[in-house]
């Protein structure tokens, strides 16, 4: 077995036993990036020098014993998570040369645990997109078939984990941006409960929906990552004062009890969604039967307001984005256009040259929806619909523990297939947006392949702060659904 094939858990165990070192593993992954990332283009920045130095330090800690889980593990970060002294671009020209002066809380936590920060990953600009085609720099490709997109917006994160360029990655999920690329690249993507993981140092897109989470090679690694990044943070006022459990115990729960006592809900409204690929539908059916075979009870549930989710999201998110992105004005950081001597004109030129088309579209929609006379009709109404969507889930969770759904209506589409039609791209987010709107956790677990060998995942969602049920059921799915070669040949 090659070093790059080791899961986070396996690598961590071997390091603790002294059978491999962090420097060896980091070196092996850096070599693999050097050899294959030309094809995939997952990384915006590969931080070789710092990574090797961090690996040396981790090896010292490991040698002393008592190193925490994850010590010495090479992790890559979506390029909107601030890293002190390392460029953080958000996939945008406006932040092309931005070097944060502080670490995001998740980065501090990873550093404290002794993790190795191997590099920063490509993404749709400011996390707006479902294909990575909105990166201002280059296109990341799906490692299973490079003619296809990796999904988005954390497409670089999912592609890097699938390509075995890092042991695990962090992404962010505002409307499916961890789960959808996870599904498209055949890796596990977990969006924690809103408030579970600190957002301090995450460049904001839509603050009431954004959440950082892990993208990993398997469910157990996701649990280990959760142990490393969760917890209350006084620097984020929306961070929850809730104790984090040891997430790996959810897997032991599965090993002892299977899924006995767990009830899985299938929302009947999701069968009315148009354009579901037959391979996605059959993978979903298989997953349903597997969960049943493992001892879960599967019931029919209703989410009556599901049909409004996309419309409500594409008001709320752009409204918040239009406010959040106002800060990029060429004064304090980022790009400044110097062609004008007039302040207002400087703002206008800077933003128009710095932001890509999709970001500008969303700023325009958000500004319009929040402008005088339209607030009640758009933002007000969308926020009330959001309340109804949360109510749907509250009712559903009275009769079930976990909701099962597809992640995306189709496997990864081809590059360029949807670029001229933002609305079609928005509609493909139908299954993932709800978890953000309701603030609940969701996981995407690989469950099968399409007829043309592209990965297909299924999604599980649970009550707020019940990631344990997701990990338990997800682990069951992963162990039971044989997927053949677990990673693509590059």
């Amino acid at each position: 077995m090659e070093l790059y094939e080791l899961s986070l858990e396996q690598a961590s165990d071997l390091m603790k036993k002294g059978e491999i070192t962090s420097v060896e593993l980091t070196r092996a992954l850096l070599d693999r990036i050097g050899r294959y990332d030309d094809q995939i283009r997952a990384f915006i920045t590969v931080d070789e020098a710092n990574a090797l130095e961090q690996a040396r330090q981790a090896d010292e800690r490991l040698a002393q014993g008592n190193a925490p889980a994850g010590c010495g593990i090479p992790i890559a970060l979506k390029d909107l998570i601030c890293t002190q002294g390392v460029k953080t671009t958000c996939g945008s020209k406006i932040l092309e040369n931005f070097i944060p002066q502080y670490d995001a809380t998740v980065v501090s936590k990873l550093r404290d645990a002794g993790a190795v920060m191997i590099g920063k990953l490509n993404m749709d600009e400011f996390a707006m997109g479902s294909s990575n085609e909105n990166s201002a720099f280059f296109q990341t490709r799906n490692p299973w078939n490079t003619a296809h997109v990796p999904g988005g917006s954390s497409g670089g994160s999912a592609a890097a984990v699938a390509s075995r360029f890092c042991s695990a990655a962090l992404g962010s999920d505002t409307g499916g941006s961890i789960r959808q690329p996870g599904s498209h690249c055949g890796v596990v993507g977990l969006k924690p409960t809103y408030g579970r993981v600190s957002r301090f140092g995450l460049v904001s897109y839509a603050s009431s929906l954004d959440q950082i989470g892990p993208i990993t090679r398997n469910v157990k690694d996701a649990a280990i990552m959760m142990n490393m990044i969760c917890g209350h943070d006084p620097k984020d006022s929306t961070s929850a004062k809730v104790d984090a459990p040891d997430f790996t115990t959810a897997l032991g729960e599965y090993d002892t009890h299977g899924l006995k006592g767990m009830t899985i809900g299938i929302p009947r409204e999701y069968f009315e969604v148009e354009g579901i690929d037959p391979d996605v539908a059959s993978t979903f059916e298989q997953a349903k039967h597997v969960l049943e075979d493992l001892g879960a009870r599967v019931i029919d549930i209703s989410l009556p307001h599901a049909k409004y989710v996309v419309a409500a999201y594409y008001i709320i998110a752009p409204c918040e984005a239009s406010a959040n992105l106002a800060r990029f004005d060429g004064v304090r950081y980022g790009l400044r256009d110097t062609s004008s001597n007039d302040l207002i004109d400087m703002y206008r030129q800077t933003k128009s040259k710095g932001f890509g088309q999709e970001v500008q579209n969303r700023i325009i929609i958000g500004t319009y929806a929040l402008s005088a006379g339209y607030y009640d009709a758009y933002y007000g109404r969308a926020s009330k619909v959001r309340t109804l969507i949360m109510g749907d889930f509250n009712s559903a969770f009275e009769s079930c523990d976990v909701v099962l759904s597809p992640v995306a209506p189709t496997p990864a589409f081809k590059l360029g297939e949807n670029t001229d039609d933002p609305l079609t791209m928005y509609l493909s987010d139908i299954f993932t947006l709800s978890a953000n709107m309701a603030g609940i956790p969701g996981i995407s677990v690989p469950a099968g392949f399409s007829s043309n060998r592209l990965p297909i995942g299924v999604q599980l969602m649970a009550r707020r702060f019940d990631e344990m049920s997701l990990l338990r059921a997800g682990y069951g799915l992963e162990k039971t659904m044989a997927l053949g070669p677990a990673f693509p040949t590059l």
Partner: protein
């Protein structure tokens, strides 16, 4: 809701964006399609429904009013496109 190229120009000004003429039409068309789709929200019955501004918490978050250590001008201004000692420099505001 259909928006025109004039609307795009007006909103772009509010958002401090400069949209050139070649893109205005495409933007108006794309955004109109999106807003037409968003009009499905009008069918939802929201009579008497509370407005949620936050998915998680309805309570205000307070902290102790304690003095911290400020990071100082060198860190604060480290990414300034243009600075003069401890100040950001911007184009003339008063002509």
């Amino acid at each position: 809701m259909k928006i025109t190229t004039d609307d795009v120009e007006k909103i772009a000004h509010l958002a401090r964006l400069e949209v050139d003429d070649t893109r205005k039409e495409k933007m108006a068309e794309q955004i109109s399609r999106i807003l037409q789709y968003i009009d499905t929200l009008k069918e939802a019955d929201v009579e008497g429904v509370n407005l949620l501004s936050d998915a998680a918490f309805q309570t205000n978050v307070m902290r102790e009013d304690e003095t911290g250590t400020p990071c100082g001008p060198d860190i604060t201004l480290a990414n300034a496109p243009e600075r003069d000692e401890d100040f950001y420099v911007v184009p003339n505001v008063v002509k």
